[in-house]
């Protein structure tokens, strides 16, 4: 007894040590293998703004369909989204799936940050025919599909029905002449009061580009390597819009309208070209007596074709070129593209569904404000697909629109200078195109 007891501790000690080590080894092995053995794939998703906050509410449904995939969501605020995504690309930290504005696709495709999805499409439930053609186009570079539209937007006209009625209009204007005539009538109707027919802020480039596109302007020329804004088609559209500023039909300073919803509620402005992101806000502001005094309408066109073109906007889902879980990522994109998921998301954040089938749902069909959007989505065009477009639009077009609106230079001089600066921005692109042809 005594002997055993004396021996045992020593034996136990060394045995326990060995056991401990082998247990530890086993544990390490087990934990490092969990992912493979249990078959759970974790993918990361970055979504922007409101989408990023709300996409988590869709995940439960996804886990029911795909129990072996887990999604880690991170929200990125819209204001710094592009900067953050590009810096993450530079440090090789992009997530498996992420959301980008569809005008950024050329930039991320050029960086080779996102992968073409053509291989996934044939075997999938998604196809180009499910989408509005103009929107699908924005995700396409040559024949390569880089993104799947998640939600879509475009610009339509928001207007006050009561004021249009006051000056004798029972329907929204359908072409440029009507829009101008209506605005002048509203101006007369207001008399000396400081009120305006149309809100056309120079810090929103979209309107200026839309009217140019409507008029058939190419915006950029020679394989998108030169500015083409002095083109007569763009110039006449641009001068047309400048009349609104010159004739006092649109407020000049953007600081005059600190709150566009209140401005429309107070009839400081009567018409505003904007997107679906404002529908919910306008519904909130136009309450009580005002609830039935506003409507949305497709954009007027330059001639008898109605509606005129608008921009193909929205966000797409893309897959990181370096992702190790492309298949799971694609399955998640497929899930987010299901009609039911899109409708659920519409209820959560009011994002307009990209699938045309979703628009048959009574939820959208019975909303009077949505009719204009549905009609407009069949008449949308993309902006030029060059990585420099964001800079050209936000920095240059807006600057020269302000110069023209305030009469710093005449319209033709503004556009000549705009072209010069755009040419300078595109210098690198021309150099690269020249290199490619040499090779």
């Amino acid at each position: 007894m005594h002997h055993r007891a004396e021996k045992q501790p020593g034996f136990r000690k060394s045995g326990f040590g060995l056991l401990q080590i082998s247990w530890l080894l086993l544990l390490v092995l087990a934990t490092s293998c969990t992912k493979q053995t249990t078959g759970i794939t974790e993918i990361s998703l970055w979504a922007l703004g409101a989408e990023g906050e709300n996409v988590q509410y869709l995940l439960d449904d996804f886990y029911k369909q795909y129990p072996d995939i887990r999604v880690k969501v991170q929200m990125v605020p819209w204001t710094a989204a592009q900067e953050k995504l590009i810096t993450s690309y530079a440090s090789n930290n992009l997530p498996d799936v992420f959301q980008i504005g569809n005008t950024w696709i050329p930039q991320f495709a050029m960086l080779k940050a996102i992968t073409p999805l053509n291989d996934f499409l044939p075997a999938s439930s998604l196809s180009a025919e499910d989408y509005f053609p103009g929107i699908w186009q924005t995700n396409l570079l040559d024949t390569l599909v880089y993104g799947i539209p998640w939600y879509i937007d475009t610009r339509v006209m928001f207007y006050r029905t009561d004021l249009l009625h006051d000056v004798g209009w029972e329907r929204p204007p359908q072409n440029w002449d009507e829009l101008l005539r209506l605005s002048q009538q509203l101006r007369q109707h207001f008399g000396k009061k400081e009120k305006y027919a149309l809100y056309l802020p120079t810090n929103e480039w979209a309107s200026f580009v839309i009217f140019g596109l409507q008029n058939g302007a190419g915006l950029l020329g020679e394989n998108n390597s030169f500015g083409h804004f002095s083109d007569p088609r763009f110039e006449s559209a641009f001068s047309y819009l400048m009349q609104y500023h010159q004739q006092g039909l649109a407020p000049l300073g953007i600081s005059q309208v600190t709150n566009v919803y209140q401005a429309l509620a107070d009839t400081f402005i009567v018409m505003y070209l904007s997107g679906p992101w404002n529908v919910r806000e306008f519904k909130n502001w136009m309450k009580g007596d005002l609830a039935d005094k506003w409507m949305t309408a497709p954009l007027p066109g330059p001639d008898s074709t109605y509606p005129g073109l608008s921009l193909a906007g929205g966000s797409s889902l893309v897959i990181n070129q370096e992702s190790g879980h492309k298949k799971a990522a694609w399955q998640f994109i497929e899930f987010l593209s299901q009609t039911e998921t899109q409708l659920k998301f519409y209820k959560l954040v009011n994002d307009l569904p990209s699938r045309r089938a979703a628009w048959d749902d009574p939820l959208l069909r019975n909303d009077p404000y949505m009719a204009a959007f549905y009609q407009q989505f069949y008449h949308v065009a993309p902006t030029p697909k060059v990585p420099e477009w964001e800079q050209i639009a936000f920095s240059l077009i807006q600057r020269y629109a302000e110069f023209a609106a305030r009469g710093v230079y005449p319209v033709d001089e503004c556009l000549r200078r705009l072209d010069l600066e755009v040419d300078r921005v595109l210098e690198k692109r021309r150099w690269m195109l020249a290199m490619e042809t040499k090779e």
Binding site: L111, G253, I254, S255, Q256, P387, Q391, S395
Partner: protein, 293 residues
């Protein structure tokens, strides 16, 4: 022996020095090299698309109207905001330092609160104060029958409006430093001046001001450098508009670099700003030397 002790010093300094070297000098050197390249989003994708362009960035900058406009705006801001801020903080410090004043800490606190308040919150309040239709300032103007001004939307008034807000926001910081300076002036100097029958102006001119000189140099230099780097106030209030009248050098740099990814161009801008600040600092130090000599 001397050499040995030197080495010793470097050994103990090395953690701090290497941190400065890695996180400060190397980036600065890289930025300097970048300013001679056309580093942009294409080069980020493929390094072979990087071109050494010599002085092209600097040449384009000198021909860039927006750059000159931004430089002019920055100088406008610096030469108005710096004296205003120093004047305001010095006078407030003098007032608070008065022996007759009651509730000193209350005033000190209320003048200091803008400094520690988040700029974005401040900017939103000031945007309402400046609002052409409902703003407080235009309301006061209407009381004395003056026409309304679109403070942030008028190319002439936008910069003064930004300067006013910026001075209000920042003078409390300098005030505290001046206050510390004032309190460190020995009381017996004032007693002596009093005995000699100096007027209060003479006391200020010949006792307070000379004794405050070191504080003044520090405050002046820091405010000047800070003003040259003005960015957040106009960026939030006006985004550089109207007609680029509130666009500053740093905002232009930020936009070229981090919004449009023209890093080379942006780096060139940074070095021009650096040179300007360096020149002004040297001039100011020279003036100080003359004054104290």
């Amino acid at each position: 022996m001397k050499q040995y002790s030197n080495r010793h010093i470097f050994f103990f300094l090395s953690p701090a020095l290497s941190a400065i070297f890695i996180f400060f000098f190397i980036p600065v050197i890289i930025a300097f090299i970048l300013s001679f390249t056309d580093f942009d989003i294409y080069s980020l994708a493929e390094f072979s698309r990087l071109r050494f362009v010599g002085f092209t960035n600097y040449r384009i900058l000198l021909a860039d109207n927006i750059f000159w406009q931004a430089l002019l705006n920055t100088f406008y801001f610096v030469f108005l905001a710096t004296p205003l801020s120093i004047g305001a903080s010095l006078s407030m410090a003098l007032l608070i330092n008065l022996r007759l004043l009651k509730f000193k800490s209350f005033f000190r606190l209320s003048f200091f609160i803008p400094v520690i308040t988040t700029l974005v919150a401040v900017a939103i309040v000031w945007r309402f104060i400046y609002n052409p239709r409902f703003g407080l300032i235009n309301y006061f103007l209407s009381l004395i029958h003056l026409p309304a001004v679109d403070w942030l939307g008028d190319p002439f008034w936008a910069m003064p409006a930004i300067i006013l807000m910026s001075v209000w926001k920042s003078f409390g910081y300098n005030m505290i430093i001046f206050l510390a300076g004032l309190q460190s002036i020995p009381e017996n100097l004032y007693e002596a001046a009093n005995v000699e029958g100096a007027s209060s102006w003479q006391t200020f001119r010949y006792v307070t001001l000379p004794m405050l000189r070191p504080t003044m140099v520090f405050v002046g230099l820091m405010t000047l450098i800070g003003s040259f780097q003005i960015f957040a106030e106009p960026y939030i209030m006006t985004q550089g508009g109207p007609l680029n009248k509130t666009l500053t050098i740093v905002q232009y740099m930020y936009e070229s670099g981090f919004r449009w990814w023209r890093m080379g161009y942006s780096a060139a801008l940074a070095f021009i700003l650096f040179t300007i600040i360096l020149l002004f600092t040297l001039v100011q130090l020279q003036i100080r030397k003359r004054l104290s000599a």
